[in-house]
Amino acid sequence: MTRRQRNHWLDLALHGAGLGATLLGLGVLAALLFDIFSDGFGRISWDFLTSFPSRRAENAGIYAALLGTLWVITLTAMLAVPVGIGAAIYLEEYGGRGRWSRIVEINIANLAGVPSVIYGLLGLGLFVRTLALGRSVIAGAATLALLALPVVILSSREALRAVSPALREASYALGATKWQTIWHQVLPVALPGILTGMILALSRTMGETAPLITIGALTYVPFAPDGIWSPFTVLPIQVFNWVSRPQEAFLANAAAGIIVLLALLLVMNGFAAWLRDRYQH
């Protein structure tokens, strides 16, 4: 076998391995989706989306949980995004490269890996009890914002770092101050990356159950949140509750709830992709 032939086969083998790995992931996903859709698709209806929870599986719906999720995730974004981007700008543009900034950087990376239930305990102690926010939408959103922050900061830093130094230098050369350079030149170019990281962080946060159960989010809420002080529940908690019920009909509800959650995630990720495309060119 010549060297050229060997390389050819090696190339084919790698190609096959890559394809296999991709198909494996897709196959598992397809099996899961098929299972969920065959169990739950029949339950999805306008009534299911607009009804409150009920002891009768066929009357039960996810309105309170769906609205709760939208409220919480919107507030989470409002809290996590400004703080996260602000921290990233400070660390990347002003923080320097000294020992202090390395310590901060390592700590933030570590925080991104802390189990979410720990954030729940922090949220319970800090927001629910000490700051007396109660078991409200705002307490839940603040807890989830803590959870999302490390990811938002890390991805925003990456995006800022990827901005060409030539752009900064050109801006300085024209007499712009540091702040003018960041606001008018660097941020707009880094925006697609920042937005992508932000939406991925929020998508992950939307599926969280443990921290919200820890801070005392509820399971049966017969009304949609009507303010940031309102009690609330979210989709993953509603699904979790239905899964643990003995009657089979609730399992179909759980599957239908998962489909709605998946659809919501798909919309958010699609929005991220659209933003990226829109601002990249």
Partner: protein
């Protein structure tokens, strides 16, 4: 400036306008959200009846809350699932009006409440029969005694009692696979109290899950399994499980082995694994009309809802005794130092 750089700058300016636009709309959203919240927040807070605690009691509380909403549309009942112990933590911190319990309140929890100046009224609302089940193909066991269960589950059995024949010599010499609820659940506490004689005392090497459907699934797919969980989970899966009868050797409460059923749980012949389940009400909260309305509705209209979600209601006479505890504002537990598995009627009458 090169052509590409000019291009970048123009793109940047375009994006910049969008950023400004986006930040303005974000600021507006914040204002709207906060404005809406501040206005209505306090009003809704006071009308909310907060219930939390045991996942076993949750389906009952949910059903009663749902029906109560139709009677009193102004009241808003929320129900959480923190577990019996977690529920009492919140209750004793004054955060909830009503706490669901699948076992009586413990001495340490009473102390915690007392330290915070929180009193409670203890109200039994239903019975649950803890069902002991095996795989349908299991043909060697259909009845067992509390002693058999004790041999399987006591802490010393860990690692040593590993086959069916070690429990009874005439059972096969095959592996014994045990399934039970997680150690935080009231079901686990009650089972260990009734079988081993000490709350929480159990071997640790069994498959445990907080989700009873996992236990159902485990026993239904393993011919060598034995597990226990609330009656409602057996009821919903009766064709996939084999229910065992328990013979407590006491002829006065039903001769021979008795299987859990609505009748045997209610009349107390299914012993020692039938238990009352409770709601604990904060007497200060009970002064609020919506809370007392909810509690009275729970006791007067709860029986059919209890049955509907798979539990066993109290007798009418017992509900009347429980209602009297509410009317008389009887503070404290009826399970002081006495027998924790005594008949509910006896306890209710003794408690007055």
């Amino acid at each position: 400036m090169s052509k590409t750089d000019r291009h970048i700058v123009r793109a940047a300016q375009r994006v910049h306008r969008s950023v400004q636009c986006a930040s303005v709309s974000a600021a507006l959203l914040v204002a709207v959200a906060c404005g809406g919240g501040a206005g209505e927040g306090d009003a809704t807070r006071t009308a909310v009846i907060t219930v939390d605690g045991s996942s076993t009691v949750f389906p009952i509380a949910e059903a009663v809350a749902e029906e109560f909403q139709l009677v009193d549309p102004a009241a808003r009942v929320t129900v959480g699932v923190s577990g019996t112990g977690g529920g009492f933590k919140k209750f004793c911190a004054g955060e909830t009006d009503i706490s669901n319990g699948s076992r009586p309140i413990k001495a340490v929890e009473i102390d915690a409440c007392a330290a915070a100046g929180i009193e409670f009224i203890e109200l039994p609302v239903a019975h649950d029969g803890i069902s002991v089940v095996v795989h349908p193909d299991n043909d060697w066991v259909s009845t067992l005694t509390p002693d058999d269960l004790e041999r399987m589950w006591n802490p010393a059995a860990q690692g040593t009692v590993v086959s069916w024949s070690q429990v009874r010599p005439d059972w096969p010499d095959s592996e014994l696979h045990l399934f039970g609820p997680g150690v935080d659940s009231g079901t686990f506490d009650y089972f260990t109290q009734a079988i081993v004689g000490q709350e929480g005392a159990s071997r640790g090497d069994f498959t445990s899950s907080e989700d009873d459907n996992v236990l159902v699934q485990g026993v239904a797919t393993d011919p060598l399994a034995l597990g226990f969980f609330g009656y409602a989970y057996y009821e919903a899966n009766r064709d996939r499980l084999k229910l065992l009868s328990v013979d407590d050797g006491d002829e006065t409460n039903g001769a021979g082995a008795v299987a859990p059923s609505p009748e045997s749980v209610r009349d107390g012949t299914y012993q020692p694994l039938s238990r009352p389940i409770f709601i604990y009400v904060n007497p200060d909260a009970l002064e609020r009309p919506e809370v007392s309305g909810f509690v009275n509705f729970f006791l007067s209209d709860g029986a059919s809802l209890v049955r509907e979600v798979g539990y066993v209601p109290l007798s009418d006479a017992e509900y009347a005794l429980v209602q009297r505890r509410v009317d008389d504002r009887v503070i404290g537990t009826m399970f002081g130092s006495g027998d924790k598995t005594a008949s509910l009627t006896v306890l209710l009458e003794g408690g007055r």
